[in-house]
Amino acid sequence: MRWLLILALPAFWLAAADSDAGDSFLLRGGTIHTLSGAPIDNGSVLVRNGKIIGAGKDIAAPKGIKVIEIKGLQVYPGMIDAATEIGLAEVDGVRETLDIREIGRFNPQLVALTAVNPSSEHIPVTRANGITTAATLPQGELISGQVSLIHLDGWTTDEMAVSRTAALHLRIPSIQVSTRPVQPEEGAAPPPAAAPTTFAAAKQNFDKQITELNEFFDSARRYREAKNAKAAGFRPDLKLEAMIPVLEGKEPVLVTAIREREIRDAIAFADKQKIKMILCQAPEAYKVIKEIQQRDIPVILGPTLELPLNEDDPYDRAYTTPAELQKAGIKFAIGTFSGTASLSSRNLPYQAAQAVAFGLPHEEALKAITRNAAEIWGVGDRMGTIEEGKWADLVITDGDPLETKTQIRQLFIKGKAVDLDNKQKQLYEKYLNRP
């Protein structure tokens, strides 16, 4: 009897979902920007059990399904912020609220999702502008941990998880010769001066780190062999264990590289270790176009609204990089790397728009924050476009989401209508009505 009850439950849920639960519905009469083809005017999207059944012009409403009229409105796939610190950082200036950097230089066993706070105020604030998914990154010196891909909705981290271990995050070492003192926080006592580094010393330090990095990968390889061979005296090691999917090419490595030399070092490292690489941030990727193109390396660019790296760079250096990558046929997404004052994840669409002002085709800008991000993060079969079989991560707007004045009207994550309310809206309404 007990068994019967358990078996009966899912069937009951399914039946309920079709009739009145939120995750089955037909959006009717809007412009559907599928990003897998041309926009569909006066189109519909049919969603059942949180998945897209289809998008098109003449979709009849199945019997009993909820119909949502969206005449005059636009539908887009949910936007994906390809690199953030969402959930790991609440208040930059309060260290108790930060779970971004662990101690140690080799931490492949750490998983960002573990520290994601589902109650973070950043989550509702971000999704209110149409961002439905974010990659969240641990940061550190060399291998900082596993990047997690999360939906910006869920009661728990398990419910939010799209991909617990989407990539291993590696920051390629750099030859640091900077002797410029770091400015302290306003009002804080100046930090102890960093020892000035000669180029030779910096190079030596760099070589040492590259060697250690290679040794780490080599020892992970030996570990894997020993494990597979069931070698005598084999002892499990969580750090090395976490490297196995990377060595087997099942998991990509997200490699943060800033300057041209670091990007070239990253490529050389990936070639040598035969790893699947996603280039991360890479503001000087425009100097390494040919190599990136030849190896078909995807890139997650940092914010477009960013200062040039060098004083003698053109003023629009960061604005034009997306267009240059697109012209070369390099697949790229944009990440806000949010977690600090200026880099709000909610402004992701405006990072893409700035690239449009400086030469990136409009549709490519949209793809950089939807489809490309999904494909680079290995979930292109589940999100990124409005197509049959994908999750119904949908944004309904009254205009182009790349334009600031556009309002988000409704948001669905896995077919569930998500509340657009947040702390900021509540404070606004409260104080607007203050007598």
Partner: protein, 451 residues
């Protein structure tokens, strides 16, 4: 010798001769104060000479076809630290009004050119926020290529920076406890102490002023008396009391905003702008009644505890409740897209296009009391003018040309055309130096800090 004299004359003429008139035709002209005009705008003798559907081109005028393009006044940033050479904080003391930003300006800071390329023509350059009463401030125009003296906005009142909350108390109450090696904590450590520092300073300033008044009276009567010692710290505060120096107060929480307004009233001066004031929306009525303006961020939040209740509706709500609001950057990156920041006040709180653009033009001009000169396109005002390839509030638009006092300081086409030449020059210099420079990890032009 003759050649030299002639050369000097030619050079002088080149420097001081007014630019030839510029006529932009067929453009959409956003005047800010008088609606939108489809037509022409004439820049002549440093000023806006005419705006209308049809304006005749004077002899020698450069005529620009503005078809499909937009014209608006130069953007005014009411809070920036660009071109400050070295640190922006005289952080050793809690009252630093003897120190001055006007004396430490670097006219070659690349941030000036980058801001110009983003449409900023006037900048309120401020001291930092480490001190309850910080240093003297100055209003500049981004006349790239000129000396620091020539960039100063002649006639604009000087200012003084104040700071409340977390930043001024950090030296007395460091995050994470007292770091090793710090021998002495600096008063204040609390918001109570910040209030005390400001009240105490003005109490001293009034006594100082009274001493001078007494001495002046004696001197006028012909009595022999020793004059009081000059105190440059208190001089600046006396100027504040006399309305000769504007007060710009860095603040966040509503309680400290009201504290500041009370202290100012008690001491007998006006707060000209509350800077940041992310919780300003909580006390909009009180601020409106005090006459203080607000210069805030469009949507920054969460970077520190006192920024936790920040809302992107701040600018719109305060505007609706009668406060004069501007949007500022406090950052060399944000500074380059204040136009896009203004659009956020339409999204959050529903300001009109005109109201949104006012936040970065006429409103900061009024706050700095330079609205007779800049902040809108009106005949007789300074010819500080931007030409855009689309509507300035659209994210797909960019600045094409910038004029200040009728002189063109930025031209995107020229900037692009000059790049190969500059690259060749750079390569040649490097060849002479013997190789690529070893770049620091990050080189930003101007240091960025948490506000």
């Amino acid at each position: 010798m003759k050649t030299l004299v002639l050369l000097t004359l030619v050079c002088t003429a080149a420097v001081f001769a007014a630019d030839p008139p510029v006529l932009i035709q067929n453009a959409t002209i956003l005047t800010i104060t008088n609606g939108t005009v489809k037509g022409s705008i004439l820049l002549e003798n440093d000023k806006i000479a005419a705006i209308g559907e049809r304006v005749a081109a004077p002899a020698g005028a450069a005529v620009i076809d503005g078809s499909g393009k937009y014209v608006m006044p130069g953007i005014i940033d009411c809070h920036s630290h660009i071109m400050v050479d070295g640190g922006i904080n005289e952080a050793s003391v809690s009252v630093a009004s003897m120190a001055g930003i006007p004396d430490v300006l670097n006219p070659e800071a690349i941030a000036i050119y980058r801001a110009l390329a983003g449409g900023v023509t006037t900048v309120n350059v401020l001291h930092g926020s480490a001190d309850a009463i910080g240093g003297r401030t100055v209003v500049m125009k981004t006349r790239w290529g000129k000396s620091a003296e020539e960039m100063k906005f002649a006639g604009a009142l000087p200012g003084l920076k104040f700071a409340l909350g977390e930043n001024p108390k950090r030296r007395g109450n460091p995050a994470g406890g007292v770091p090793p090696g710090v021998v002495e904590l600096r008063y204040p450590a609390t918001r109570m102490g910040v209030e005390d520092v400001i009240r105490q300073a003005f109490s001293e300033a009034k006594a100082y002023r009274a001493n001078w008044e007494e001495w002046n009276a004696k001197a006028a009567r012909g009595e022999l008396a020793i004059p009081p010692a000059r105190d440059w710290k208190l001089e600046a505060l006396v100027e504040v009391l006399e309305g000769k120096r504007l007060v710009h107060v860095h603040c966040y929480r509503q309680d400290e905003i009201l504290m500041m307004l009370r202290v100012a009233e008690e001491a007998g001066f006006k707060v000209r702008t509350l800077q940041h004031a992310l919780e300003g929306y909580k006390v909009a009525g009180e601020i409106a009644r005090s006459g203080a303006g607000i210069s805030t961020f469009a949507d920054w939040w969460a970077y520190k505890m006192e920024a936790q209740d920040a809302i992107p509706y701040n600018a719109a709500l305060l505007t609706r409740k009668g406060v004069l609001v501007s949007l500022n950057s406090d950052d060399p990156e944000l500074m380059r897209h204040l136009d896009k920041e203004a659009a956020k006040a339409m999204k959050y709180g529903g300001l009109s296009e005109a109201e949104a653009l006012s936040l970065i033009t006429i409103n900061p001009a009024r706050q700095l009391m330079i609205d007779g000169r800049v902040g809108s396109l009106e005949v007789g005002k300074d010819a500080d003018v931007l030409l855009y390839d689309g509507h300035p509030l659209s994210n797909f638009s960019k600045v094409l040309k910038v004029w200040i006092d009728g002189h063109q300081y930025f031209d995107r086409d020229q900037d692009i055309a000059d790049r190969p030449k500059q690259e060749a020059e750079r390569k040649e210099l490097l060849r002479k130096l013997g190789g690529e420079p070893r770049r620091p990890a990050i080189e930003g032009g101007t240091e960025r800090q948490t506000p």
